[in-house]
């Protein structure tokens, strides 16, 4: 392909700075397109961005709020990173997050009067377990019946959404508030016990939610697993070539199921963190409107599924989400944040291909007359080795 005197040739090696440019250019593209959307609807993009920046990173209070928003995104980002690295396309993080939140709420109510040392681990485990259970069927179907996990995991998002709606709005379930006056007037979730509420670490004006710290631990553990363990090696081999993995004797089905269960557990933990850190009750509407798992896919794709890279990525996009939650509807129309995330992902997907090419002058390839004497060199008798 030749454009304006340049043609694009494939790079032999991909320098690190080209890789680093991909997410940056994608982000710039997203801000430009979103700016056009805002201009077209009568808003002033620069002042909107300014406002968003102030809300997201402008002060230590803003950064604390951003960390709260980043917590579920960090965990769903890790859930995506571990699965997508081996081409296990778990796009059912939403559903796993909902049931994780529901199970963690139930645990938080059940053992919420015990000490925090019991209640909080119980919530974490309940959330992770529920998330894994939710992904178990698609994982087994894919591993042993070759049913594409893509649509089966996705369908369970809707089932999970309906399940949590049912628990609060259409049943008298354990997690629904059926005792207080407010709960009788309008359906709402039952509060978890006081000692089940997750603590926050405060210092120098910053409030770091406990879930975020859990996310950091998970990121580090995942990084170590991916880099230094046999499972991580298997994941990377299968991710690069499933057939290579199979021929070399890796139990691909078993690794696949394991990875999917880990991914589901992390998404479930994201749901648990939302209940433990923030809402302290099951809030089906809020969970479904937030779309944390879809955001997690963007967060992970931007850093090429590197578990450690997910951390800064989640903080930056968490800032965007935080600003969106605070300003959406009043300062700009709903949906801006999702649109920005979509464009970023789009740019990264395209950039992944484009970065493998570099522009070169077309004249470079034109056969030059000066090369004529060359045959003399090439036809000269080969020297004997040694």
């Amino acid at each position: 392909m030749t454009v304006a005197g340049f043609r694009f040739e494939r790079r032999a090696i991909l320098p690190w700075w080209v890789r680093a440019l991909v997410p940056l250019i994608s982000a710039a593209l997203a801000l430009i397109v979103a700016g056009l959307m805002l201009t077209a609807t009568g808003y002033h993009p620069l002042s909107v961005y300014r406002q968003m920046y102030d809300i997201a990173f402008g002060s230590s209070i803003a950064i604390s709020a951003t960390l709260v928003a980043a917590t579920p995104i960090l965990l769903t980002g890790l859930a995506t990173a571990v699965a997508f690295r081996m081409n296990a396309r778990n796009i059912g993080g939403e559903g796993q997050l909902y049931v994780g939140a529901a199970a963690a709420t139930a645990a938080g109510i059940a053992v919420g009067h015990q000490s925090s040392a019991i209640a909080i681990p119980a919530m974490v485990l309940a959330g992770m377990l529920a998330g894994s259970v939710w992904i178990l069927v698609p994982a087994l179907l894919r591993a042993y019946l070759r049913t594409s996990e893509l649509i089966t995991t996705l369908m369970l998002n809707y089932v999970g959404g309906l399940l949590v709606t049912y628990l609060i709005f259409d049943s008298t379930s354990y997690v629904r508030d059926t005792t207080s006056a407010g709960g009788l007037v309008y359906p709402q979730g039952r509060m978890i016990g006081y000692s089940a509420m997750w603590p926050a670490i405060t210092g120098s004006g910053l409030v770091i939610p406990f879930g975020f710290l859990l996310g950091l631990v998970c990121a580090a553990v995942l990084f170590v697993i991916m880099r230094f363990s046999l499972l991580g090696f298997h994941i990377r081999v299968i991710g690069d070539s499933t057939s290579a993995g199979r021929y070399s004797g890796i139990p691909t089905s078993r690794v696949f199921v394991t990875v999917m269960l880990i991914s589901g557990a992390l998404a479930g933990l994201a749901g648990a963190s939302q209940v433990g850190d923030l809402t302290h009750t099951l809030d089906p509407r809020g969970l479904q409107a937030a779309q944390y798992a879809w955001t997690g896919i963007v967060v992970a794709a931007v850093v090429a599924y590197n578990p450690l890279g997910v951390v800064p990525s989640a903080i930056i996009i968490g800032g965007l989400v935080n600003a969106g939650l605070a300003l959406q509807g009043s300062s700009f129309p709903l949906g801006l944040v999702g649109a920005i995330e979509g464009i970023v992902l789009f740019g990264v997907a395209c950039g992944l291909v484009l970065s493998h090419y570099r522009p070169a002058r077309t004249s470079y390839r034109r056969p030059s007359r000066r090369l004529e004497p060359a045959p003399e060199v090439s036809v000269s008798p080969a020297k004997e080795p040694r």
Binding site: M155, I343, F346, V348, A349, V353
Partner: protein
């Protein structure tokens, strides 16, 4: 007779199945060219919000306004699909990631919501909606009347589209070339068929038809706009194409089956059955999983009808 549960379930099947038929046919054509549209739900939502925008802003004869709304929905769906085609066909980017990107961009918390929110479309009633056309007064005939002769224009359109797509795929030269592109793009290219041109055109058609399918939600099913109004129908259409083995005639039956499943809840509730609505709402999603399992195991081990190079980007250099 016409008010019996069986008849109203069939009618509901047609009502909720029609968007699946229209979007599914478009997706089928696109997949036959080797391009999968995971973002089809996004196209549908864009079509839905665009059509609703037209019927709330425009005044005039009902037929004209509705025609403009449907065409506008098709154009918007097509434009979004062309962005996707640019990325996947021209650049050769990963279809799965681009599809998800389009869905996140246009989806329930993305651009479709942005448009709906900016134009204040939520919670207002449409001035125009698609009404059933009682053909030749036959709509009151027992049994067949409400099923065949009392539908709205888009349903009749979908009935025309099914044989047209079948004929196009199986009996025309262009259809043959299309299948060649999806099976072996390199051979098709060597024959002088422009792979990119075929893929662009059919992705655009998929977008336009998904846009129309989306408009069915805001014009016929609910006559209102809310974020994510299609509730996963685009994803179900995507699955539908797989388990009808890429055959348009089976797609019609499959879509109506899923439509009927969606209609079970509202119908039973209207008849005083008090079961939580979620119990019936999960049926289409669970049945989609069951059908995919059947399609991948019991019915056939080989992927019957699946285009050979589905989901793979084609470039002459072979990268």
């Amino acid at each position: 007779v016409n008010n019996s549960l069986a008849i109203s379930l069939v009618v509901a099947g047609i009502l909720y199945g029609t968007p699946l038929v229209i979007a599914g046919l478009g997706e089928l054509l696109s997949e036959k060219s080797g391009v999968m549209n995971l973002g089809i739900e996004g196209y549908m939502l864009m079509g839905a919000v665009s059509a609703f925008w037209v019927v709330t802003r425009m005044t005039g004869p009902s037929a004209l306004v509705l025609t403009v709304a449907v065409i506008f929905a098709a154009v918007v769906g097509m434009l979004v699909a062309l962005i996707y085609a640019f990325a996947t066909v021209s650049i050769g980017a990963d279809q799965l990631m681009c599809g998800l990107a389009i869905w996140i961009f246009a989806g329930a918390t993305g651009f479709s919501s942005f448009v709906g929110s900016d134009a204040n479309l939520g919670g207002i009633a449409a001035n125009y909606s698609l009404q059933p056309l009682n053909v030749l007064g036959l709509g009151n005939v027992p049994i067949l009347g409400p099923i065949l002769f009392d539908q709205n224009a888009l349903v009749y359109l979908s009935w025309v589209l099914v044989p047209v797509v079948w004929f196009y795929l199986n009996r025309t030269r262009t259809g043959l070339h299309l299948r060649a592109v999806g099976e072996e793009p390199a051979s098709a290219d060597a024959q002088g068929i422009s792979v990119a041109q075929y893929q662009y055109c059919h992705v655009a058609v998929a977008g336009a038809m998904a846009g129309i399918a989306g408009s069915f939600y805001t014009l016929a099913i609910s006559s209102a706009w809310l974020d994510g109004i299609t509730t996963g129908a685009g994803w179900i259409a995507l699955a539908l194409v797989i388990f009808v083995f890429w055959r348009p005639e089976l797609l019609l039956a499959g879509a109506y089956f899923f439509g009927a499943l969606t209609g079970v809840g509202p119908n039973l509730q209207a008849r005083g059955v008090t079961v939580p609505p979620e119990v019936f709402s999960v049926l289409p999603y669970l049945m989609t999983i069951a059908a995919l399992v059947l399609a991948s195991t019991v019915w056939t081990r080989t992927r019957h009808g699946a285009p050979n190079s589905l989901g793979l980007s084609y470039s002459r250099e072979g990268h």
